[in-house]
Amino acid sequence: MAQNETTKLILYVAGETPKSLAAIANLERICSEHLDNRYEVQVIDLKKEPRLAREHSIVAIPTLVRQLPAPIRKIIGDLSDAEKVLVSLNVKGAQ
């Protein structure tokens, strides 16, 4: 992974389902506690825009997609296990 490359994360949620809400809260916490400021997070509500599921072939919600750096990785679930999320993302700046 290039050192100066920004981490771009996209969280796909479905309105305000419990798992979606939990995933948003958990991601906010992980970002604030474990990542430096070189990351970009986008939350996409598929209930409002279902078509956007196509881009990353999203089937289950919530799903977090690490779009950058390549290769794309997906984490399915509410992100409640922060350590597992960090390992899976293998993001730079992880503490």
């Binding site: 479905a14 309105g15 419990p18 809400l21 072939s57 990785r73």
Partner: protein
């Protein structure tokens, strides 16, 4: 939670196929293990989202219709949804609460209470646990019943938490308790207590009020229900005005009034005070009416007694002076003995009257008291016949002096100067009904002759009871013994039973 690398939509290699298979398997596993709660289903043209918990909107709509604060919490206490009542209570929008731990949005003590509540609910496994919490909102302390119950929301284990506002109920209970206390205080008061509403109509009275005015008082204007005349007042001051002043917030203290229509006309001391002056708005007034009649009566009685005492002291001094002037024994020793004896007789009568509160004195008791220094009244030489009489103070003093002279004479010269002499003391009514007649008769004593000189003793006997037309005494020196008939004015006697 599961992870996988993604790959192009059209697989070009075994590795990509493997990754796609892996992702599919992880998705299935995530679904099976309840890690996701929505799926994307591709229809002909568009994708569609299906939430696995279903009915999400219906339960939210239901929560919104609840009058209580309500929240659906995840397993860790994070807010999944909170209705408007609760978000208003917490003073944060739903968007800032969702996903956050609800307990973090309460003050520490309340947060601890709620944490304990959730733990209890978890231990019980089913059924609601509850506790009361207090929150300061809008500057006032409000009371809530917090209830928690395990809740399954789709695939999620969580909690249903509700906060029911008990403030009005708690205040109503406090008000009822306070009112109960107030009623008990009013009921136990010795003074008459009347409570009026803001319109001056009576809402409460205690039993003491009935001694001033009976009938249906509740609901009546105070000034009409309890008829009072304010003492020394000009037309501007009335009971109606006193009540109006108290309701307006001005305390009225110790106004003397008369209640002419009371079962027993009374003099009253009236005070009136605003009701609940601390609440900012006067809800009426409390009026106390203290009965001064007894106090007045006691004062009048005291004044009367003081005048009576003054009168009696003057009378007794005058009497003592008369005794002094008319005790004319030639030698000083004889004078002292005679004078002292008469004063002692007077004192003895006074003592007996004082013992009987200066009301009446039994004649028999007076007779025995005069005899006692010389002979036992129970002796068979003494015989008492006839009715019992009660003497009023004026006649008692006179009869006491007369009996003293008769006894003294009998001891010196008459029946009591010999061992066998006897005295008969007979009480009977006079024929004209103006007096009671008492006969003193000495028998079996030495022969008696009329003394040459008329001393003070005979003067006392002859004149003491002449203060009234029916009173007087006749003294005879019969050879067989002295006989004296006393006529006690009927206005100074009270009839007793026959002995």
């Amino acid at each position: 939670m599961t992870t996988s690398d993604s790959f192009p939509r059209t697989p070009h290699s075994d590795q990509e196929l493997l990754r796609r298979l892996e992702e599919a398997e992880e998705t299935i596993r995530a679904i099976r293990e309840g890690e996701i709660d929505a799926l994307v289903v591709r229809k002909t043209m568009d994708e569609e989202i299906f939430t696995l918990q279903g009915g999400e909107h219906s339960y939210r709509a239901f929560m919104e219709t609840m009058g209580h604060g309500a929240a659906a919490l995840g397993a860790k206490g994070e807010v999944l949804y909170a209705n408007t009542v609760l978000t208003t209570l917490i003073e944060k929008p739903l968007s800032r609460l969702q996903g956050q731990l609800l307990l973090d949005h309460f003050e520490a003590p309340v947060s601890l209470q709620l944490k304990t509540l959730l733990s209890e609910a978890e231990r019980s496994g089913s059924g609601a646990s509850s506790c009361e919490i207090s929150l300061v909102r809008g500057g006032e302390l409000r009371h809530y019943l917090a209830s928690a119950e395990p809740l399954q929301i789709g695939v999620v284990d969580g909690w249903a938490l509700t906060l029911t506002d008990l403030t009005d109920r708690v205040r109503a209970q406090e008000t009822m308790a306070a009112e109960g206390t107030a009623r008990a205080i009013i009921a136990s008061a010795n003074e008459a207590v009347v409570v009026c509403d803001a319109a001056g109509r009576i809402t409460h009275v205690n039993a003491a009020v009935l001694a001033i005015e009976d009938g249906a008082l509740i609901g009546q204007p105070f000034h009409e229900a309890i008829r009072l005349e304010i003492k020394d007042a000009i037309g501007l001051v009335s009971a109606e005005e006193l009540v109006r002043m108290a309701i307006a917030g001005t305390e009225v203290k110790s106004v003397e009034a008369h209640a002419p229509h009371a079962p027993h006309a009374k003099t009253l001391l009236i005070s009136a005070a605003p009701l609940s002056p601390t609440s900012g708005t006067n809800k009426g007034c409390v009026i106390t009416l203290v009965d001064l009649s007894q106090r007045k009566s006691a004062e009048e009685r005291q004044q009367f007694l003081m005048a009576e005492l003054d009168h009696r002291v003057k009378n007794i001094l005058t009497l003592v002076m008369a005794i002094l002037h008319q005790t004319d024994d030639a030698d000083i020793k004889g004078f002292k003995t005679t004078f002292a004896g008469r004063i002692q007789a007077l004192a003895a009568t006074h003592n007996l009257l004082a013992t009987n509160s200066w009301a009446t004195l039994p004649l028999e008791e007076l007779f025995k008291a005069e005899l006692a220094p010389y002979i036992a009244p129970s002796s068979d030489r003494v015989e008492i016949i006839g009715h019992r009489l009660e003497l009023k103070p004026r006649s008692a003093v006179a009869v006491g002096l007369i009996l003293h002279e008769l006894v003294s004479n009998a001891v010196k010269y008459g029946a009591l100067s010999t061992p066998n002499g006897r005295i008969v003391f007979a009480v009977k009514h006079s024929l004209d009904g103006k007096s009671a007649q008492i006969e003193w008769r000495e028998t079996d004593g030495p022969s008696v002759s009329s003394p040459l000189r008329k001393g003070f003793g005979r003067t006392v006997i002859a004149n003491s009871l002449k203060y009234s037309p029916g009173g007087g005494a006749d003294l005879e020196f019969l050879e067989s013994g002295v006989r004296c008939v006393l006529r006690i004015p009927s206005e100074d006697i009270v009839e007793g039973s026959a002995s």
